[in-house]
C-alpha cells in the first residue's frame, strides 16, 4: 500500500520535472567496484572530466549515528538514481555502517531519508573485542538490484548475525523477510550480484567460521557455498564475476596442495553452482605463505582483443595477468604475465604491498589500462616512465595491456605521487580517483610485537584520508581533497555516481564532493 503511494507521487513528479528526462544512462554505482567485474570503472560518467575536475569541492558531509566497531565504520555507499519516493524521484545513497546500521541518504542534499538498525538475532551472542580483523557487526558492503517496473530497487545487505536483508531503497522497508545467509560474527566481504544470485566471500575465520565462497539464490532463498580449504578469502570487494558468471576470488595465507584439495595462496575460479572451475597459485606460493604475503586482492575481469582477462595482486606487490580460459595454464602455476615487484622490497606483511582490489578501464583510443594501488615504499627497481617524486607511503600505478610478439604483457606507464596508504582507484571519463587512507597499518613493532595490532593503537596513530584525482593517461594530479576529510578510512572504498565522489570515514561521516556551482 505504501509503495503504491510512493510510485504515484513519483510518477506525478516525473510528469512535471524536465530534469528527469535524461538522454544517457545514469552513472549509478550499484555495487562495490561499480560492476560485477569489479573494474572500478564508471563508464557512464558525463559530468566530471579532466578539464573540470580541478573544480571539485565538498558538497556536503553528514555525520551518521553509526558507532565504529574496532577500525571499521562506514562502507562505500551504493548509489541509485531515479528512485521513486514520496517526494518524487531521488538519487539515493545506501550507506552501511559497522554497528548494523544502514541509511538511505538523499545525494542531492546529504539528508538522511531513512535509517535502519538490524537487531542482532543469532543464538550466539554478538562478538566483541575481535581486534581490527574481526570486528563483528555489519562488515559487508551492500549491493543494489535491478530496477523494478516502476523504478523501485532493492538493496541487499548482510547484518552481523549473518542474515540477508532485502530493503526498499526508497524507504528502507523490508521487501522480503530477512533470510539466513551465513554464520554470525563472520568477516564477509562485498556482495556481488549475478543473474539473481548474490555472492560473498569470508575470511579471517572470524567467529570461528570457515573461509568460503557463499551464494544466495534470490529465487529460492537458499544458500550454497564452496570451501577452498585454504586461507581466508579477503579480497576487499569480495569475488569478481566474469562475463560467463565465473567467480574469481583470492585465497589468503594457507597451504596450496591441490592433491589434498587445499587451495591456499591462490586465485580460485568458482562456477556459479559453487564448484571449483580452475585455480592459479604463483610458483613462489610457498614463500608467500611463509612470509604472510596473502593473495588478498579482489581481481578484476575485462575483455581486450577478444580475450577475457583476469588480473590480481597481493601483498607481495606483483600483478598477475591471467587468461580467463585457463588462469594458471596447464600446471596452474603459470599466468600469462607476471610483473616484477612494484613495492614491498622488504617483504613485509603489513603496511606494504597491494591491498583491496584492482581496477581497469579502456580509453577512447582502445588502450586497456590496469590500475593498482599499494602501500609503503616503491620498489627500488620499479621505475615507470612517468613518476612524480619519491614514494614512501604508497601510490597508484598504471599499466597498459600490450600484445608483444603474440604475448600479452603489462607495461608500466605511470606511478602517482606519494600517498599515505594508497587505496584502490576508480575511473571515470579518463580521470583516476584514489585516496590515501591515512590509516596506520603497522601491525607489529619491535617493542610490542603483534600486540601493536590493536585498534586503539592504530586509531591513535592514524591521520586523515585525502582523495586525489589523476589524469588517467599520465598520473598527473588534477585535484585533491586536502584537509576536507578529518579522519582516516579503514577498508573503505570510493564511489562515483553522476558527477559526485563519495567516501565514508572512520568517524562515521560520509563525504560527497562535486563541482563548484553545481
Amino acid at each position: 500500500m505504501r509503495s503504491t503511494h510512493i510510485f504515484a507521487v513519483a510518477a506525478a513528479a516525473a510528469l512535471i520535472s524536465p530534469l528527469l528526462v535524461v538522454a544517457s544512462p545514469p552513472a549509478d554505482w550499484l555495487t562495490d567496484g561499480g560492476d560485477p567485474q569489479r573494474t572500478g570503472w564508471q563508464r557512464n560518467e558525463t559530468i566530471l572530466n579532466k578539464d573540470n575536475v580541478k573544480n571539485l569541492k565538498l558538497r556536503w558531509k553528514v555525520k551518521l549515528d553509526n558507532e565504529p566497531r574496532e577500525m571499521h565504520s562506514l562502507f562505500p555507499p551504493m548509489i541509485a538514481s531515479g528512485i521513486p519516493t514520496h517526494d518524487g524521484f531521488k538519487e539515493i545513497a545506501i550507506e552501511a555502517g559497522s554497528s548494523d546500521n544502514i541509511y538511505g541518504i538523499d545525494t542531492a542534499t546529504g539528508k538522511v531519508l531513512w535509517e535502519k538498525h538490524f537487531t542482532y538475532k543469532a543464538e550466539k551472542p554478538q562478538r566483541k573485542g575481535g581486534g581490527p580483523l574481526c570486528p563483528a557487526g555489519l562488515v559487508v558492503t551492500p549491493t543494489i538490484g535491478l530496477p523494478g517496473p516502476e523504478g523501485q530497487r532493492t538493496a541487499y545487505a548482510v547484518s552481523g548475525d549473518g542474515r540477508m536483508h532485502f530493503l526498499n531503497v526508497a524507504d528502507g522497508e523490508d521487501v522480503q523477510p530477512p533470510a539466513d545467509f551465513m554464520p554470525p560474527n563472520g568477516k564477509a566481504y562485498s556482495l556481488n550480484l549475478w543473474k539473481n544470485v548474490l555472492y560473498s566471500t569470508t575470511a579471517q575465520s572470524c567467529g570461528g567460521n570457515p573461509n568460503m565462497v557463499y551464494a544466495f539464490d534470490l529465487a529460492t532463498r537458499k544458500m550454497t557455498r564452496y570451501n577452498p580449504k585454504g586461507g581466508g578469502l579477503w579480497g576487499r570487494s569480495g569475488a569478481a564475476i566474469g562475463f560467463d558468471g565465473t567467480l574469481y576470488a583470492p585465497t589468503g595465507d594457507g597451504q596450496f596442495d591441490p592433491a589434498a584439495e587445499r587451495y591456499g595462496e591462490a586465485i580460485i575460479a568458482v562456477n556459479p553452482n559453487m564448484t571449483l572451475k580452475d585455480y592459479y597459485a604463483p610458483s613462489n606460493a610457498a614463500f608467500m605463505w611463509k612470509r604472510d604475503l596473502d593473495m588478498q586482492v579482489t581481481p578484476t575481469v575485462f575483455k581486450y582483443k577478444d580475450h577475457e582477462f583476469v588480473v590480481s595482486s597481493s601483498k607481495e606487490c606483483r600483478i598477475w595477468l591471467m587468461d580467463a580460459k585457463s588462469i594458471g595454464g596447464a600446471d596452474h602455476r603459470t599466468p600469462l604475465y607476471r610483473t616484477p615487484q612494484l613495492c614491498n622490497e622488504d617483504i613485509n606483511f603489513a603496511a606494504a604491498g597491494v591491498w583491496g582490489s584492482m581496477a581497469t578501464w579502456e580509453d577512447a583510443k582502445g588502450t586497456r589500462w590496469v590500475l593498482t594501488s599499494f602501500w609503503g615504499p616503491v620498489h627500488s627497481q620499479f621505475k615507470p616512465p612517468l613518476s612524480y617524486g619519491p614514494v614512501t607511503r604508497g601510490a597508484v600505478v598504471a599499466h597498459k595491456v600490450e600484445e608483444i610478439d603474440g604475448k600479452f604483457v603489462l607495461t608500466p606507464v605511470w606511478i602517482s605521487h606519494d600517498m599515505d596508504m594508497a587505496e584502490p582507484p576508480i575511473i571515470a571519463n579518463g580521470v583516476v580517483y584514489a585516496y590515501g587512507s591515512g590509516e596506520s597499518n603497522v601491525q607489529a613493532t619491535p617493542e610490542l610485537g603483534l600486540a601493536a595490532n590493536s585498534s586503539a593503537i592504530r586509531i591513535k596513530n592514524s591521520t586523515h584520508a585525502i582523495i586525489y584525482a589523476f589524469d588517467g593517461e599520465t598520473g598527473k594530479e588534477l585535484w585533491s581533497s586536502g584537509d576536507a576529510i578529518s579522519t582516516f578510512v579503514h577498508f573503505g572504498a570510493l564511489s562515483i555516481a553522476n558527477g559526485h565522489i563519495y567516501l565514508g570515514a572512520f568517524d562515521s561521516t560520509l563525504y560527497s564532493f562535486g563541482l563548484k556551482g553545481e
Partner: protein, 499 residues
C-alpha cells in the same frame, strides 16, 4: 592454561591474513638445537633423502672479513616483526659482534657490535678472549612446557623475542631480535675476558660455565635468574665453583627433562667432600645449583692430548628413563641413569658402557655427542665424533645404537664414516646425518649427507666449499644447513625456495 590457549588463538586471528594456517617454522635456538644438546632436528619435515639427492645446493654464503671468527648460527624460524615475517639466522662473532641474516633472502637484516673491554689481554689457546659464549634464544619447547617462562620473558605468539648473549666484557645482554636494540640494561655477570661456555636457558634461568681461569673467573657453573621482578635490577646469580678441573666439550651445560643441569669436568684432583669434582659428571639442582649427584669417571689419567675425549654429554629418554650419554676420558661411551646419578649410588658404575671407541693411537672423541631415535621403531642411536689424533686427522663418525641383550643395555656399533678431517658433531634430521669434515690447511671443508641408519652416502658438497671449517658445529633448520669456515664465511646449503 585454557585462557592462555584462547588468548593465543585470538592473537593468531589478528594477523594480517587472519589465518592460523602458517607454514611450519623450526627454530635452532641453542647449541645442539635443544637444551638436551641432542643435535637432532626434531620437527624438521622438509629434508628428505629424495629431496636432498635431487635438489640440495648452495643457497647463499656470507663473509664477514672484519670478524676473526664466527660461531655456528642460531635460527629463529619465524619472527613476526615490524618488517614482516622473517626467518632469521644469528651469528655471534668473536669480536663481540652479532650478525643477523634473513635466511630466505640472503640479506643482512641487522648487525650490532658491543664495545670490547679496554686492555684485553692477548689471546691464547686457552683464553681466546672476545665473545666466547654461543648465545641462545629461549627454546620453544621450554616456552611451551613452562608457561611461566613465556609469561615472564617472552610475550608468546607474535610477541617480541630476545636473544641472550655474553659479550667479552662479561655483560649479559638481552637483544631484541626484531631490530638489534638491547631490551633493558646489560648486567655485569662475569669478569671481563672470561671464557664463558655456550648458554643454555630453561625456566627463566641462563646456565653457563667458566673455565681455564680466563679473566680471573674460576671453573664454575653459573645460573642467572632472569625472573627479577624489576628489569632494571641485576639478576640474581648463583655460582657453583667445582675446583681446578675444566669442563668437557663445546656445548656448555646440559639440561635434562626435569630441569636438572649437567656438566662434566676434566682432569684434576677429586675431592667431592670439599667441593672439588674432577673427571666427574655432575647433576645439579635447577636454580640453586646444589649438587644432586655425580658420577666419577674412573678412567681418569688416560686421556689423549688436546681436546680429545672432552665431550659435552647429552640427555635423552630411553625406555621410559631419563638417561645421559657421556664420554669417558679413555674414550668409552657411558650411559647413566639420571635418577641413580641423583640418588648417589657408588658414583662409578654406569648403566652401560661401550667398548673403547676405535680412534687410532693418539685419537679420541671430540666436541659433543649426537643422539636420535628412529621414529619407526624408537631405536636410540648415538653418534660420536672421532678424531684420529689431536690435529683431527683420520677422523670419523661412529654410530652406535642402544640394545637390550641378556637383560643389559649395550652399545652396538652400527656404522662408521671414515676419512674425515677434523669432523664436528653431526646433526641428524629426517633419517639423514649431516657430517662436516672441516678440513685443515689446504684441505677445505666438505659437507656430507649420509643415511643415518646405515651411513650410506647420499650427497656431498665435494669441492664447493673453498676454505676449511672453523670447528663450529652445524646448524639445521627449515631445509637449510649452515656451516662456518675459517675465513669467516657462512655457507648455507639446502632446498631452494622460490622467492
Amino acid at each position: 592454561m585454557k585462557k592462555t590457549l584462547r588468548n593465543s588463538l585470538a592473537v593468531l586471528t589478528l594477523l594480517a591474513g587472519g589465518e592460523a594456517m602458517f607454514a611450519q617454522a623450526i627454530d635452532w635456538p641453542t647449541f645442539g638445537g635443544d637444551i638436551e644438546r641432542s643435535g637432532q632436528g626434531k620437527s624438521e619435515i622438509k629434508i628428505t633423502k629424495d629431496e636432498v639427492t635431487k635438489n640440495f645446493k648452495l643457497l647463499w654464503k656470507m663473509q664477514q672479513r672484519g670478524t676473526p671468527s664466527l660461531m655456528a648460527p642460531l635460527v629463529l624460524g619465524r619472527l613476526i616483526g615490524y618488517r614482516g615475517f622473517k626467518e632469521l639466522a644469528f651469528f655471534g662473532g668473536s669480536d663481540d659482534s652479532l650478525y643477523v641474516m634473513d635466511a630466505d633472502m640472503d640479506r643482512l637484516y641487522w648487525q650490532t657490535k658491543f664495545v670490547p673491554p679496554i686492555n684485553a689481554p692477548a689471546p691464547t689457546a686457552e683464553c681466546p678472549g672476545g665473545m666466547t659464549a654461543m648465545p641462545s634464544l629461549i627454546p620453544v619447547s621450554v616456552r611451551r612446557s613452562h608457561p611461566s617462562t613465556r609469561k615472564r620473558f617472552e610475550a608468546g605468539f607474535g610477541g617480541p623475542r630476545s636473544i641472550y648473549l655474553i659479550s667479552s666484557d662479561g655483560m649479559l645482554r638481552r637483544v631484541n631480535v626484531a631490530n638489534g636494540n638491547e631490551s633493558g640494561m646489560p648486567f655485569q655477570i662475569f669478569p671481563a675476558n672470561s671464557r664463558v661456555s655456550a648458554l643454555n636457558i630453561d625456566e627463566g634461568m641462563i646456565y653457563a660455565t667458566t673455565s681455564h681461569g680466563c679473566g680471573g673467573a674460576g671453573n664454575g657453573v653459573w645460573g642467572i635468574d632472569l625472573a627479577t621482578p624489576d628489569p632494571s635490577t641485576a639478576p640474581e646469580v648463583t655460582t657453583l665453583m667445582t675446583g681446578p678441573a675444566n669442563y668437557a666439550g663445546i656445548g656448555g651445560p646440559v639440561i635434562g627433562k626435569d630441569g636438572d643441569v649437567f656438566v662434566q669436568t676434566l682432569d684434576g684432583p677429586n675431592d667431592p667432600a670439599n667441593g672439588k669434582y674432577s673427571n666427574a659428571l655432575l647433576a645439579l639442582e635447577p636454580k640453586t645449583l646444589a649438587v644432586k649427584g655425580y658420577f666419577i669417571d674412573s678412567s681418569s689419567g688416560s686421556a689423549p692430548k688436546g681436546d680429545l675425549n672432552s665431550v659435552t654429554p647429552v640427555t635423552f629418554e630411553y625406555k621410559d628413563h631419563e638417561v645421559i650419554a657421556s664420554v669417558s676420558r679413555d674414550g668409552h661411551l657411558n650411559l647413566l641413569d639420571e635418577k641413580s646419578l641423583a640418588a648417589q649410588g657408588d658414583h662409578k658404575t654406569p648403566l652401560a658402557q661401550s667398548p673403547r671407541i676405535p680412534t687410532g693411537n693418539d685419537g679420541g672423541l671430540w666436541g659433543s655427542l649426537t643422539t636420535w631415535a628412529d621414529p619407526a621403531d624408537k631405536t636410540r642411536y648415538i653418534l660420536a665424533t672421532v678424531w684420529g689424533n689431536a690435529s683431527g686427522r683420520n677422523g670419523s663418525i661412529a654410530a652406535y645404537k642402544l640394545e637390550e641383550k641378556d637383560g643389559k643395555t649395550v652399545f652396538t656399533p652400527v656404522w662408521t664414516m671414515p676419512n674425515l678431517i677434523r669432523p664436528v658433531p653431526p646433526v641428524v634430521i629426517g633419517g639423514l646425518a649431516f657430517v662436516l669434515s672441516s678440513g685443515e690447511g689446504r684441505k677445505n671443508a666438505v659437507l656430507h649427507v649420509v643415511d643415518s641408519l646405515t651411513g650410506t652416502p647420499v650427497w656431498s658438497t665435494k669441492n664447493e666449499i673453498t676454505a676449511p671449517g672453523n670447528l663450529t658445529p652445524l646448524t639445521v633448520a627449515n631445509g637449510r644447513v649452515y656451516l662456518v669456515t675459517a675465513d669467516s664465511t657462512v655457507w648455507v646449503f639446502g632446498l631452494p625456495l622460490e622467492l
